[in-house]
């Protein structure tokens, strides 16, 4: 009896393991952004993107688009103490730095009140403005910009 229990347990355990491995290794033809990889198969981390060097401002794709950042932003900090972006883009500093000044919309609160300084909702620039890197699109898309 005891022997039988042990054997049964072993068989069940083995079966369980093989079922488990089968379940995770069978992708059922599914492809995700990480490729046709089984769940338990490791994937190589993609290499980090290299951000573009400083370029001229880029064309915008639609009205009201936050323009993309045409330069490197490595190490630029925006926090309670300082705002590196504004040290070039604010109305006080843009002339000396040669940067585009932030537009008036950046001084408005949600209710349309114009403030004397940058509006808190526009303080964290990279919520809307992003630097650029040359990459392949992850999924196909058919977007056309408004000018085309």
């Amino acid at each position: 009896m005891k022997k039988f229990t042990v054997a049964l347990t072993l068989v069940m355990a083995l079966g369980g393991i093989s079922m488990a491995t089968q379940a995770v290794s069978d992708t059922g033809g599914m492809k995700s952004l990480r490729g046709a990889k089984a769940l338990d198969e490791g994937t190589r981390a993609p290499t980090m993107h290299k951000f573009n060097k400083d370029e001229e401002p880029m064309k915008r794709s639609y009205v009201q688009q936050p323009p993309v950042i045409p330069h490197k932003v490595r190490g630029y900090k925006v926090d309670l103490n300082s705002n590196k972006c504004l040290s070039c883009h604010s109305w006080d500093n843009y002339k000396e730095s040669g940067a585009t000044k932030v537009s008036l919309t950046h001084f408005n609160t949600r209710d349309g009140h114009a403030l004397a300084d940058i509006s808190p909702r526009r303080y964290f620039c990279m919520q809307c403005h992003v630097p650029q890197a040359v990459t392949e699109p992850l999924v196909e898309n058919t977007y056309k910009n408004s000018a085309e």
Partner: protein, 199 residues
């Protein structure tokens, strides 16, 4: 050499940190002597105190500014050249170095009084320290930066558009020096209220 002075220091330290044994005045004098012991005087000691290991042997330096430095280009970059604390903070030339070291004996006093011994205290004190550091660099035309970065050796064709413009306009003409434009490259910045170009 390093070992020996450590043992000596440890004993001395015990004496200093037991308040009953030393009056305020003698702590001051002791602090100064410790300062000279640590920072000044003879060249071997100078060399020992001129390493990053020495700087970060104080937790005040290790837990704050050092951690911040680790995230920057001066700690790791494609060329594998690392800038250490003394590279940016301690003059290379002997006379300037001695002057700076003697000034720095006040850090020993700061250590004893615990002026920046918690992150909160460090942050509250940061602006004052940064202001002094900026003033020093401004006054010596960012000499320590120039030990590594020679303006004459900059290849503009390799630099970004923004760099070239600013370096040719304001740096080449001597209107500005590195630290005017490159604050906060190694550590977190303090509250920048009232600092020219940041407000």
């Amino acid at each position: 050499m390093g070992q020996e002075s450590k043992g000596l220091f440890a004993r001395y330290w015990g004496m200093l940190t037991t308040p009953a044994k030393a009056a305020m005045g003698s702590i001051l004098v002791g602090g100064f002597i410790a300062g000279v012991l640590f920072w000044g005087g003879f060249n071997t000691a100078l060399e020992v105190t001129n390493t990053e290991e020495f700087c970060i042997s104080c937790h005040e330096m290790r837990d704050n500014v050092y951690q911040e430095l680790k995230e920057t280009i001066h700690y790791s970059n494609r060329s594998g050249v690392r800038a250490t604390c003394p590279d940016c903070h301690v003059p290379k030339e002997w006379t300037y170095k001695i002057i700076r070291k003697i000034q720095a004996s006040k850090e020993v006093w700061g250590k004893i009084t615990g002026i920046v011994d918690t992150p909160e205290k460090f942050d509250a004190h940061r602006r004052e320290m940064a202001d002094r550091e900026w003033a020093r660099m401004k006054a010596n035309d960012s000499r320590e930066c120039r030990n590594c970065h020679d303006f004459q050796s900059m290849d503009y064709s390799e630099q970004g558009r923004r760099s070239v413009k600013q370096h040719q306009d304001a740096l080449a003409t001597g209107q500005k020096t590195c630290i005017d434009c490159h604050k906060g490259i190694a550590h977190q910045l303090p509250d920048m209220k009232g600092v020219e170009g940041w407000d």
